[in-house]
């Protein structure tokens, strides 16, 4: 088959995929050895390189109209491992690069090595872990082999967990341990699933597995069990209701830059793999029943997370519960994409757009919340009256992010919601449309809780004027979420590159 041959041979720009992975790895190893203040310099110096590589990959995918493939070591699957970048991978890579670069620049003030010390704990740990996290995300987005993706998930967990408790406070330690245990639970279920898939088909390469699974007339029970286990594990790591308990304390108590990266990117990595699993490896299994279950959990997450966000007393916890809710939106795309219907492409575009715009919006909101907490010394919502006058750019960034979360025009969130609503109406699945609109109202509620007091004309005591450049970083991310709303039609063509052509559901 031509498609199979294409998926197993290195393409022209394939070497870019390798470079995108090894640049942050080399940076991390170098930072550890050289140590001290050089760790920060190495990390910051390599960020433009990483950003450039991700853009180059996106352009290459766009220009050739085909996914990029790289066969590692010259050993073709099933024996060896391949890397693949389709449209979804490419835009996630660019988003990750932008958010990490922004978070890195923002965090320079928090994680500086003081001049009198050769090396300090938190800065060295932060800059090495950040690069490790970037490498892990890159492998997740580019990996073409399920066991390789398991190792990448572990890499991601080990980079993310220490970032949560980096400041050493006791509540962060408990939150980090809980996060780690949930993540390990998820990984081991995922690994169990890959064992069953290998046992059934003798390969873990995504393209080959898809081919072999679809070639069988009846779905093997082992595949069903594997799918269930892997999805359960990945849902725990993506913090979908009801497995979301670990997320709010972990994301709210981490340093601001870490929270931004965790909410924007790390939870999306598990979602990315669930999409890969259900739409690339076993699209035939994505029956109405399964996708409805996923979407119902998503709906519950939206309602539950939004209501809890409305009740929070602390700003960072509000933003963290908002993440729990917004992740629910991502799962609404499953029943709309499955089945290869005329509205599937629209729903796909909507789901991806939601992933990207939430990444930018949430990162902006966490950075803004971090600035507020630094300036006021606390993040109690009840005492935010009047900060709009003291830190206008910060509050504006928070507001723009909230705009995207609510799904108001012009923003990426609006574009995503519009596409998903259209798909849901065309497919006759009205329930999801109602849920999305309700979620938007609730999001408006909790954003209003923060913005309304902020814009009053009370005066508030701030410790020191906020650094303009850091406010600008938060604002830039928020503007990114808004600019996504202006994405041209060609952008959606990019997202469609590499999608399996027919997704016929087995009933």
């Amino acid at each position: 088959m031509l498609a199979m041959a294409l998926a197993l041979a290195t393409t022209g720009g394939g070497y870019l995929l390798v470079l995108a992975i090894i640049v942050p790895v080399i940076g991390m190893l170098l930072s550890l050895v050289v140590g001290g203040r050089h760790a920060e310099r190495i990390a910051l110096a390599l960020m433009p390189a990483g950003l450039g590589l991700s853009l180059a990959i996106a352009i290459e995918v766009w220009v050739t109209g085909q996914p990029l493939v790289y066969v590692l070591g010259g050993w073709t699957p099933p024996l060896g491992i391949a890397l693949r970048a389709d449209g979804f991978s490419a835009v996630m890579l660019v988003t990750a690069a932008l958010v990490i670069t922004a978070a890195g620049y923002f965090a320079r003030v928090n994680f500086q090595t003081p001049p009198e010390l050769p090396e300090k704990r938190a800065p060295l740990a932060f800059w090495t872990l950040l690069q490790g996290l970037w490498a892990a995300l890159t492998v997740v987005f580019l990996g073409g082999d399920l066991f390789n993706l398991f190792v990448a998930l572990e890499l991601l967990t080990f980079s993310a967990v220490p970032l949560v408790c980096l400041d050493g406070r006791p509540e962060t330690l408990a939150a980090a341990l809980r996060y780690l245990l949930f993540a390990l639970f998820g990984s081991v279920l995922y690994l169990l699933g890959t064992a069953l898939l290998y046992g059934s088909y003798g390969t873990l390469d995504i393209a080959l597995l898809a081919y072999r699974i679809s070639a069988e007339p009846v779905v093997a029970p082992a595949v069903c069990v594997a799918a269930g286990l892997m999805t359960a594990g990945l849902l725990a790591k993506a913090a979908l209701f009801p497995l979301h308990l670990w997320l709010p304390p972990a994301h709210a108590n981490a340093p601001a830059a870490a929270s931004a990266v965790l909410s924007a990117l790390v939870v999306k990595a598990s979602f990315f793999l669930i999409v890969r699993l259900w739409f690339d490896v076993m699209p035939g299994l994505a029956s109405q029943a399964v996708t409805t279950v996923l979407a119902t959990l998503g709906a519950a997450a939206i309602l539950f997370g939004s209501v809890l966000a409305l009740r929070q007393a602390r700003l960072k916890l509000l933003v963290a519960y908002s993440t729990v809710a917004q992740i629910g939106y991502l799962f609404l795309m499953f029943p709309l994409v499955a089945g290869g219907h005329p509205w599937s492409a629209e729903a796909w575009n909507g789901g991806v757009m939601q992933t990207l715009s939430h990444a930018f919006a949430k990162a902006a909101m966490f950075l803004a919340a971090g600035l507020v907490a630094e300036q006021l010394g606390h993040d109690r919502i009840a005492e935010l009256r009047g900060i709009g006058r003291a830190m206008p750019m910060t509050v504006f960034a928070f507001g723009l992010g909230g705009l995207s979360l609510m799904g108001l025009p012009p923003s990426g969130g609006f574009a995503a919601k519009w596409l998903l609503l259209q798909a849901s109406v065309e497919s006759g699945q009205w329930a999801w449309a109602v849920i999305m609109l309700a979620g938007g109202l609730l999001a408006g509620g909790y954003v209003y809780r923060v913005i309304a007091p902020a814009l009053t004309s009370a005066s508030v005591a701030v410790k020191a004027p906020a650094s303009r450049s850091r406010e600008a970083v938060a604002l830039a991310l928020a503007l990114g979420a808004v600019l996504l709303g202006f994405a041209p039609l060609e952008f959606f063509d990019l997202l469609q590159i590499g999608r399996p052509v027919a997704t016929v559901a087995l009933q």
Partner: protein, 115 residues
């Protein structure tokens, strides 16, 4: 005959997964959860093992690819255990408790609690 040893190992693996999962879900002490996670992991590895044994071919007694995956998995599971234990010990050092309950009041650490 050796194939039945493989099936036996596979059933053992399935049971170990059940045991480990139960321990991970129900035991409140984090260290017991970590132990249960290790048992769960080893059960999963045994399932890889039966798949390897059933893949005996080309003169090998067992398919080498799953075996290599298990070796990688054992090392990864060890690093996970090390990180979890270090986190737990630090939590104990700071709060004097070993609990995942985030609402538990933090206690001042005793003097000399380390080592």
């Amino acid at each position: 005959m050796s194939a039945s040893a493989a099936t036996l190992a596979g059933l053992t693996g399935a049971a170990l997964v059940g045991f480990g999962l139960y321990g991970l879900l129900t035991d409140p002490h984090p260290l017991r959860k970590i132990l249960a996670f290790n048992i769960l992991g080893s059960g999963v590895f045994l399932l890889f093992g039966i798949i390897a044994r059933k893949g005996a071919a080309a003169g090998f007694a067992a398919d080498p690819v799953p075996q290599a995956m298990v070796i990688t998995g054992i090392v990864v599971a060890f690093s996970a255990t090390a990180l979890a234990v270090a986190l737990l010990l630090r939590l104990f050092q700071e709060t004097g408790r070993a609990t995942l309950d985030p609402d538990a009041p933090a206690k001042a650490p005793d003097a000399g609690v380390d080592g």
